[in-house]
């Protein structure tokens, strides 16, 4: 038994403070992304989520250039971009992808500029990888309070708006007929999504952040018929992918031949993909029955 455990958990896994921090941050982020991601999928806004992540890269890289934690940049720019997308009219289905795409392109252009400037001055490429693909083992514990606060704000928005948001995600017509301010609800949701994307970017990078937002949610939707269950399942799937990803990344330091360590993001995203494929297979089988 002991030998099995030792084979699974390489030495130092449970005593490393970096691992502990990674697991704490990863858990928090997986919960927020899973809960909010269910609505992203219901509302068909995954492209907007992807755009917010890519635009967040500009924020993360500018924060790096300014010498402050990347989280500030991710959040500030993603929330600002959500505001711009709302103003352009992302809520209307037509023109929504166009508006998103235009803002996305501009954001990525800025990210390219900042990363170029940053790496030229510093003569290092580490920042590019950190911003775009994340590095959960390199976090500073000082960002934990801010992470927790942002997570609480995003989850609080969902808790308060849960029923109106669900109804307007199912049918904006039914929601409007009940006198609900559909556009305002959509805007509030967009901001919560921007925060969730920024949190994901801290763990698995700006480019991959939507995988954590949309993947567990899409998987959960295959497995249950009830919205509440889907939300809980999405959070659990996200947590599982994050924990396993951290463990595999830690273990990979001991893997031959490189003994160098593979990125957490790779494992997390791959695990989510595997879970999604399994859920599709299970879902399809159920549909046949």
């Amino acid at each position: 038994m002991h030998a099995v455990l030792r084979a699974i958990f390489e030495p130092g896994f449970f005593t490393s403070s970096l691992v502990a921090l990674a697991v704490a941050v990863g858990t928090l982020v997986a919960i927020v992304a899973g809960v909010i991601g269910v609505f992203t999928v219901l509302r068909g806004q995954s492209f907007a989520g992807e755009a917010l992540g890519d635009i967040g890269a500009a924020g993360g890289s500018s924060a790096y250039l300014a010498g402050i934690p990347a989280l500030w940049g991710f959040v500030g720019v993603a929330v600002a971009a959500a505001g711009v997308m709302e103003l352009i009219g992302i809520q209307r289905a037509r023109g929504r992808d166009l508006a998103t795409g235009v803002v996305l392109g501009a954001g990525f252009g800025l990210a390219a500029l900042f990363l170029y400037l940053g790496t030229t001055y510093d003569n290092t490429t580490g920042a590019t990888v950190t911003i775009l693909f994340g590095s959960i083992f390199a976090l500073n514990s000082s960002i934990l309070p801010l992470l927790a606060l942002l997570g609480a704000i995003a989850l609080g928005t969902i808790v308060v708006l849960y029923r109106p948001l669900l109804l307007s995600s199912v049918s904006s017509e039914l929601a409007a007929a009940r006198g609900l301010p559909v556009r305002l609800i959509g805007a509030a949701y967009l901001f919560a999504m921007a925060v969730a994307v920024a949190l994901s970017a801290v763990t698995i990078g700006a480019i991959l952040s939507t995988a954590l937002l949309v993947g567990p949610a899409a998987t959960a939707l295959q497995l249950t018929r009830r919205p509440g269950h889907a939300i809980v399942a999405a959070a659990l799937i996200g947590i599982a992918a994050m924990w396993l990803g951290v463990l595999l990344a830690y273990d990979s330091y001991y893997w031959p031949p490189l003994r160098h360590g593979w990125p957490v993001s790779f494992f997390v995203v791959t695990l989510i993909l595997i879970a999604y494929i399994i859920s599709r297979t299970v879902g399809a089988r159920r549909a046949v029955r």
Binding site: L174, R178, R226
Partner: protein, 284 residues
């Protein structure tokens, strides 16, 4: 009998539409439309596509502001609209859900009860019971636990009707509920709604471009054409005189085997049309 001549207000009406005019993009969609609906009455809102049926519904729901006139909904208190909740039940025309949407019919009906409230829904026995009673009332118990997006059109209509009725509105609006249903499902939905209207003293306003399926159950109808309305019983409204005045040109009404066929134009016009209860068929 042209609606404008109707004496207003009747205090026990569930809905009073008084001289409503709506202009959208420079076009007059509704022109001084008046009508009223009484509790327990099944009223058809008949007109061709584009006659302004959905616009009138939007005005009643408070989603469109009329440039003149007013709408009064019983129990609403406010003069202008039924906006803000549960006084008016509404079943929209187009309702398409992703088959993967994790939402059971039961959940959608529950959202009809408290979908406008903030906070998380707390599970309670009385809420579950209310939802189950409503599902039973529309004979939807058998498919209430399937995903709404995977139900047939007729089954979705029942769930939507339950969603609209569970908050106990005085007025139920159904926008073209029969448009995408086969004849049998359409008859079932019509029968269901007319039964509930009588049982619960509910006023029903149901729009359709084809009036014939509704003729057996309609107490009264509102006929919309060219933005104007005539209302009364089918015998009063569906006459050559009334419809000729409404359309502004000659209209014949044929009654064949219990069906009504409206023929607009004399046949010498270039654009004479046969309307079978509003659905026009061009005659060349």
């Amino acid at each position: 009998m042209i609606a404008r001549a109707r004496a207003l207000p009747l205090t026990d009406d569930a809905l009073v539409v008084d001289g409503v005019t709506v202009r959208l993009g420079g076009r007059t969609v509704l022109d001084n439309v008046s009508c009223s609906v009484r509790p327990g009455e099944f009223t058809g809102l008949i007109g061709a596509n584009g006659a302004g049926k959905t616009t009138l519904f939007r005005v009643i729901l408070g989603l469109e502001q009329p440039s003149a006139g007013s709408v009064r909904v019983a129990g609403g208190g406010s003069e202008s609209s039924g906006r803000g909740g549960t006084d008016v039940g509404y079943v929209p025309q187009k309702f398409q859900l992703d088959p993967d949407m994790p939402l059971r019919g039961r959940d959608l009906v529950g959202l009809g009860l408290d979908g406008h409230r903030f906070g998380l829904p707390l599970p309670s026995r009385s809420r579950r019971q209310l939802v189950q009673e409503m599902l039973d009332a529309v004979d939807a118990g058998a498919f209430a636990d399937a995903r709404v997006g995977q139900l047939s059109g007729g089954e979705q209509q029942r769930i939507l009707i339950a969603h609209a009725l569970i908050s106990r509105p005085k007025l139920l609006l159904l926008d073209e509920p029969l448009a995408n249903l086969d004849l049998r499902s359409a008859q079932e939905v019509v029968g269901l709604v007319s039964r509930i209207a009588r049982e619960q003293q509910l006023a029903v306003l149901i729009s359709a471009h084809e009036m014939n399926p509704l003729l057996p159950v309609m107490d009264r109808l509102v006929y919309l054409a060219a933005g104007r309305a005539a209302s009364g019983t089918a015998e009063e409204v569906i006459t050559s005189d009334v419809l000729t005045k409404l359309y502004g040109h000659h209209v014949d009404v044929l009654r064949v085997h219990g069906r009504v066929i409206v023929v607009a134009g004399t046949g010498h016009d270039e654009h004479a049309a046969v309307e079978m209860g509003g659905a026009s068929v061009e005659i060349v």
